[in-house]
Assembly symmetry: C2
Homo-oligomer: 274 residues x 2
């Protein structure tokens, strides 16, 4: 039987940072089965006390004290959560204190600085990137294609759209995507609109068997979804990209985050942070 532990992620704002850090750490403990509870917007003492009750109940139920990752900023709330019958891992205790010493200034101890809409210029850039990416999904238009930071090509259902949307939302990248359709594959040429922009073009490929299963859900028992066709398209697309000098990644074994960061890194594009 695996060890079971309850883990709380407690934040005075969205909880996204503390949840992401905590999960990243917990992936290092395979043999433990974690039950995760995220409590966002814990921004007053009543809510902290309610959280303490949940932590206590979870500990009683499991017979083991829970883990608590917390990023509360207000001193009184941090002190209160520190009384939990749990292992409390306080992000700010562990980092803000040494950072204050190093920087020689006091921190603001202010709630909600990250993931807030504080900087309009950056924020507009992000929304514009999302709008651009949506307008340039699936080769929908060639208009203003030269404004793209990245143009992603690949056969239909190779993962272009989620990767582009992630680049836009997470990093403020204008990411167009362009399908390689059977006509392109027969001619063995990139779509003509992309030729002058080749330095921005990146490719995705995928294992044919996985492509088949994705397409099968979409258009069951079509030629489009047949393994034979998937094999042909993938093989032809890889040859085309290789011949055209387009670097490509395999989406079968890489997450959206890995695809997006690899492309940005290789294209030497700046990552914005929101």
């Amino acid at each position: 039987m695996p060890i079971r532990r309850t883990v709380f992620f407690i934040s005075d704002r969205t909880g996204i940072t503390v949840e992401m850090l905590g999960n990243s750490l917990l992936t290092q403990f395979d043999s433990v089965e974690f039950k995760r509870v995220t409590l966002p917007f814990i921004d007053n003492i009543d809510k902290v006390q309610e959280a303490l009750r949940q932590i206590e109940a979870a500990g009683q139920e499991a017979g083991k004290r829970p883990l608590v990752f917390t990023s509360l900023m207000a001193d009184n709330l941090r002190q209160e959560i520190g009384t939990a019958n749990a292992m409390v891992l306080d992000l700010f205790d562990r980092f803000i204190v040494p950072l204050e010493a190093e920087l020689g200034v006091k921190s603001a101890h202010a709630v909600g600085r990250s993931h807030s809409a504080g900087n309009f210029k950056d924020y507009n850039h992000r929304i514009e990137s999302v709008n651009y990416t949506l307008a340039h999904d699936d080769g929908m238009t060639n208009r203003n294609l030269e404004a793209a930071d990245i143009i992603l090509v690949g056969v239909s259902r190779s993962g272009k759209t989620p990767t582009c949307l992630y680049m836009a939302l997470q990093f403020g990248i204008k990411a167009a995507n362009y399908p390689l359709i059977p006509e392109d594959l027969e001619k063995m040429k990139l779509p003509p609109a992309l030729l002058p922009l080749k330095h921005k073009v990146w490719g995705l490929t995928i294992v044919p068997e996985r492509l088949q299963s994705i397409r099968q859900e979409r258009k069951p028992d079509s030629k489009y979804a047949s393994l034979q066709n998937c094999k042909w398209e993938v093989q032809a697309a890889e040859t085309l990209m290789h011949n055209a000098g387009v670097s490509f990644l395999n989406s079968t074994t890489k997450s959206i985050e890995e695809l997006a960061t690899t492309i940005l890194h290789e294209a030497k594009l700046d990552r914005r942070v929101y």
Copy 2:
């Protein structure tokens, strides 16, 4: 003159976690101007040594040692980065060691566990959520609307699409969105397709002046973009949502992250983590 410091985010994988944590911490130091450098995929000793050279050069240039947030997992790489002429804040040192003690097991010390495409079932759920959200953008179809986890309403350009895409990508939520068009506003009724699904409906609103400036970029000097029309639409949409018992949030002052997590929290929907 503000204090200037260079900050490195160094990861053996995407760097997303360490970048997010570091930025969240740095927002607490207003008076310091940080220059950020993210170095992802630092997964061998040569790359660590190249990173050390960059850190050294940045320190020389600034006359102050840089800050280094790092999440390298391999012991030899962590030891090497620890020799940097910098303040090194090692996520794993600070958390993995106490976690090992608490859990009574050794961590895997394995690279690339988070943000990897390891879990196909979860991963497919995420991609399906993105596809669903795209197919149900802007009231494009009522087909299968009942499968939505959330249906977001609001006037055109109130921020529905980016919020829905974020919920899909970050949390695996199927988020449809539905514009409130002038006909709805005149009738003062939710679109009929939404009435049986009202328990899933949430609203966005926006300050009319901000809406005007967004619409003005899209359709300059149109009635659609006029302040008078924006004021009317916003007022009518708020009244409609209020009368229909639909909770709504203001996108003018909230980030996409805040909108998404608030809605999920109030709707009591589980957040998945990718």
